[in-house]
């Protein structure tokens, strides 16, 4: 069970959090301007790297805040967590 450092609440057990997938997926400003393939790329395709992964976590059973984390998908080591926009 991972030990995750919420930027607001500190280190807490994984069971308090929910996972939000890859970070940095920006919603297109003008979806109508996109082709079906481009829209599908935004919707479904993720990088799924082996190694360092920027991702979103939510302290769902705590402060309910979303934050960013850099987690290694092989070792599960969380290099850092940070408030969004920082």
């Amino acid at each position: 069970m991972l030990l995750i450092k919420c930027p607001w609440c500190g280190e807490r057990a994984e069971t308090e959090f929910s996972y939000g997938g890859e970070a940095g997926i920006t919603r297109p400003r003008d979806p109508d301007a996109l082709s079906d393939a481009e829209w599908a790329d935004y919707l479904f395709n993720r990088t799924n790297p082996r190694g360092a992964h920027e991702e979103l976590w939510n302290h769902a059973h705590g402060c309910r805040r979303w934050f960013g984390a850099e987690r290694d998908t092989v070792s599960y080591v969380i290099a850092r967590t940070y408030k969004l926009g920082s």
């Binding site: 069970m1 030990l3 109508d32 996109l34 079906d36 829209w39 939510n58 979303w66 070792s75």
Partner: protein, 998 residues
Amino acid sequence: MQINRLSQGGRIDRSKPLGFRFNGKRYQGFAGDTLASALLANGVLLVSRSFKLHRPRGIVAAGSDEPNAIVQVGSGASTIPNLRATEVELYDGLKARSTKGWPGLRFDIAALNDRFSPLLGAGFYYKTFMRPKAFWKHYERFIRASAGFGAAPQRTDPDRYEHCNAHCDVLVAGAGPAGLMAALVAARSGARVIVADEQNEFGGALLSASATIDGQPAPDWVATVVAELSGYEDVTVLPRSTVFGYHDHNFLTLAERCTDHIGERVQGVRQRLWRVRAKQVVLAQGAFERPLVFCNNDRPGVMTASAVSTYIRRYAVCPGKRAVVFTNNDSAYETALDLRASGATVIVIDSRSGGAGALGAAVRKEGITVLAAHVVTDVTGRRKVAGVRVAQWSGDVTARVENTIRIDCDLLAVSGGWSPAVHLHSHSGGKNVWEESLHCFVPGETAQACVSAGSGNGKWALDACLRDGRDAGAAVASRCGFEAAEVPLPSASDTAVNEMQPLWRVPAVKDPDRCPKQFVDYQNDTSVADIRLAVREGYRNVEHVKRYTALGFGTDQGKLGNINGMAILAECLDEDIKDVGTTTFRPAYTPVTFGVGAGENVGELLDPVRKTAIHEWHEQHGAPFEVVGQWHRPWYFPRGDEDLHAAVARECLATRNSVGIMDASTLGKIDAQGPDVVEFLERIYTHNVGKMKVGRCAYGIMLGEDGMVMDDGVMARLAENRFYLTTTTGGAAPVLAWLETWLQTEWPELEVYLTSLTETYSTIAVAGPNSRRVLQNAGCSIDLERESFPFMSVRSANLAGIPVQLFRVSFSGELAFEVNIDSRYAEQMWRLLMQAGQEFDITPYGTETMHVLRAEKGFVIVGQDTDGSVTPVDLGMNWMLSKDKDYLGKRSLARKDCLREDRKQLVGLLSEDGKTVLPEGTQLVDDTGAPIPVPMCGHVTSSYFSACLGHPIALALVAGGRARRDETTFAAMQDGTRVPVRIVSSVFYDAKGERQNV
């Protein structure tokens, strides 16, 4: 009669005799015994039948690696199956039975399997029982009965189990010489330490060792260290506690057996799960002695040498009178000395031409014969060892050998060398590496903050173990930020040893595929021939061979047989052992009870129950409850001996004809406010939120970005920048989270505040033509007539003197009001409304009637009529979709797949016979004569008998359904019949919607 009990020595208390039963027969042991040691003391050799071949089996080991003595302990609801007799502490009155063997151990019918064993080789399951396919159901009954181990209790476990969380600087797993030294150093350095060991006493191998430490017997040194550790406030000493899992981020799980050694149904917590987050971990679990692989090496009376020593020295039980010790290394010479000291005759067979080092001389001094460069090739005797056949051997594994000697004996102690218990290191993500000089896998690179020490780290000699433990303790203490205490190394005698000789399988006089079985894994009856067969059939990967031959499965998880198996596989493949590798060890290290896994999370503590503020009234009025998520909602309110159908029919008619009242408090409620709330909701909902006037309500739907309907509900604009949103019961938490997600991650520039009001407010729906008069009777502060309070609007009011928010919305299609009220006053308001409605025979109704009424109107329930693959267009809700703005999911609705004409669309269905209520989920087919698999054109999502209409109605999703109005299709019933159904509009009642608008 404890015929094998020694008159002195051991860590048993001869003044405390304990009676116990095994397979119904009475025996006696002593306090300090395990079930295994007590059975051996009584001369009970045959303890089980093997898994597949039902061969007679005896006790092999003395710890958690025991593969054969698998017993069921206790009786009734508190029984535990599949315990290792070697780990069961004896108590007075203990009842145990072997989990295999029918009708009895001595005569087991299925032992015929052994005679037909050529049919039961590796993969027999797949080969023998797959054809003809139809026969599987006959085979299965036989296989299920003859396979498997103990019996699960039939009734609920009455005992208490608990979970507890702990944090520490250093967790030490295993309290043998290395673990104790590590714990001692860490404790003296000031670290917060937890030290756990699976046995009842700390000390590990020292409890049965002949060695001295600092000039005193090893067990005395253990007692001194344990006393010191127990004295530290910050040290937690946990005997009978197995560290069974090493998970991510130094999170470890321990199972503590609190009362199992005392008896059954003892007061207090029976077992405890420790969930430990440790800064540093010392893994000191020790090593397992490997058996040797030769013909009939599974006969009762063949034991590992260290187990024999443990029984002699720790339990004062000598399991035989005439012993043969067969070894490829020095450690078993200690056993020869122990046997000799117990009065047994001993002959040592050593595969090495040079024999042992210092211990060899000691053995010879005792007059024990040592046959060097010899091997045991076969065992005689069936239910117990009668003798061994011995051959001279040059050291070449491929050489054919000839038996030259036969030795009569009743005990065969074997040692094939040692394998470090690398399991926890492996759980933690660490690699294991083959250490050529030691002929075993040792812990390699670590993946987490841990250190392995002692024999678990490939250190065999006692002084090396103590030093390794001390160094590990110092390392972890300083990594935790403490100054490591200087602890002098205790002096321990070290004896010069000769190198072991790798001997993975003993050559037989015949071809390995034709000779009597040479067992590698006792518990799974995996033999050398099985591994060879797997390789011949093309299996090369160790994980595949494991699954094909069952090598390494079961309660012991290959603790005994795995390494021999890997090495034999390597030989077959002509590869190096290091290249073949091991299978992956996973938690649990030893079996863990379901009880300890569940802890307190059973019965009513399994899941919280959410009750509305009016719950007690519903209970008092006899309502059965429907479980919706965690909520318990009244299902219907039977009068007299009405059943569901009668009650629902009455409730529906009462609501349509006069007035009904329902507790709708479980609906999700969210207060949304802030300067940007309109912009925010525009992006979430599909309709034009900005066009809503203050005081008005609107039905809203929200889509996922994939365009599929996610949730729906009525929203009200309470003020210019304040909305009251409702969600489905199940959607309350997910919708709030969804809205927060967009606000926090994508649109942080929008200033909007969301607050859940689901439990703050209760909702009472009053529906039916007389609903307005009920509210008027109750005393309402505002005009309720249509002109001033039209359909789909909201007002603040005082109702019966209590402030409420009144919504003129309808989920029944009737004139209706929803009273939103502070939950503290909800039950009082409910009673007042019941009173005010008395003259109209106001009728409480539950979720079932609500469902029927809404289905008659064709109102969908998200999650019942939709399933995550349904767009608003599929539901015929095009009118809800704004063309003037973007909203979540909008772009997806223009994807090619969402524009298909033949998508499943919401329609109504009428059974043509006018009486069949279709089961929900029924598939629809157009062509009743089509061959299997029959193409399906849709399925029923909602189905009820409508009392108002006098016939059944159903909602369904049908491919291209809207264009198929009045066509007939067929419902495929479970009994194989096909019921013709007509496709109609999804609105069955008051199609123009006039009744709600009066």
